[in-house]
């Protein structure tokens, strides 16, 4: 009897999302992460982002019997499914019909002064212009670091890259942003 219950416990740990209840809980706790990831890497529009997010969970549901691991592993698994879906979408997306990255999102009001908020809004537009020029992988690094708050080590492990490469990419993007801000300030003074 003990052997049977131990075996059942082991099976539940190994394949934790086979039941409707468990998968529903996974969806509730991770759909915003997947949604933000897709939004960041795909860039928009919202309708397509929602389609990709929904498709990601449907594919995960169909393959749930093959997944083994904890919640963290489940998030990495979901993001990997989402990435494949995004690659397919980007492949079929018309060339030359590029849209502004995260064009249809809004910045919430913060406790900053109106002047500071204005500066931040400008910085946001500059960041959008910079991210527009990045490769998909660089964009993914930005999304994982700043939108999902992952650490460099986690990003490197997830993307199968060296930690140093991730750090260098992040530094380069921030430097580009700084340069843009300085250029803007010079233009404003002139």
């Amino acid at each position: 009897m003990e052997f049977v219950s131990a075996k059942l416990r082991g099976r539940a740990r190994a394949k934790p999302y086979t039941s409707e209840v468990a998968f529903s809980q996974l969806f509730d706790s991770t759909h915003l992460i997947v949604f933000r990831y897709v939004y960041g890497v795909l860039g928009g529009p919202r309708q397509e982002v929602e389609d990709v997010t929904a498709e990601t969970f449907l594919k995960a549901w169909r393959a749930r019997d093959h997944f083994e691991g904890d919640r963290e592993a489940a998030i990495r698994w979901l993001l990997a499914i989402a990435r494949n879906e995004i690659v397919d979408r980007l492949r079929t997306r018309q060339r030359g019909a590029d849209m502004v990255w995260l064009e249809d999102v809004e910045l919430a009001n913060s406790d900053l002064s109106p002047e500071q908020q204005l500066i931040e809004n400008e910085r946001w537009q500059q960041l959008q212009a910079i991210v527009q020029t990045l490769s998909e992988q660089q964009r993914e690094i930005i999304v994982l670091r700043y939108m999902l708050g992952w650490k460099v080590k986690q990003i490197a492990a997830h993307l199968g890259m060296a930690e140093n490469t991730v750090s260098v990419t992040l530094r380069r993007i921030i430097q580009q942003l700084q340069t843009k801000v300085q250029e803007q300030q010079k233009e404003d003074r002139a």
């Binding site: 409707e20 929602e50 809004e106 910045l107 913060s110 931040e120 910085r123």
Partner: protein, 103 residues
């Protein structure tokens, strides 16, 4: 250089926190019909053990409540049709041998 980088990182993190990114109501309505959603379709709905137990107990109580008056009624009906054969009726003209000897 490093200090500047961390300052910029913090600023970026703050900026990204201000981005409002939530799926629309339409997305949630669509996901409510997903196969893992417990209320999506009757085929996917699996009653829990507690709900099953509560249903069985309720049915048993209702049956018991119905069964007691029904049994009583059935007994009355049965008794009505069988009383003529089973009930003992005193016969006033029963032959008594002692009385006949005295005569």
């Amino acid at each position: 250089m490093n200090r500047q980088f961390s300052r910029d990182e913090v600023a970026l993190l703050r900026l990204f926190k201000r981005i409002q990114m939530r799926p629309s109501q339409h997305f949630y309505e669509r996901m409510a019909a997903a196969p893992w959603s417990l209320h999506s379709s009757p085929a996917n709905a699996r009653p829990s053990f507690a709900r099953l137990l509560a249903t069985v107990v309720s049915v048993a109580v209702v049956l018991f409540l119905i069964a007691v008056p029904l049994r009583s009624l059935a007994q009355q009906v049965f008794h009505y049709f069988t009383q003529a054969e089973t009930d003992v009726i005193e016969n006033p003209f029963f032959w008594n041998p002692l009385l006949s000897n005295q005569r």
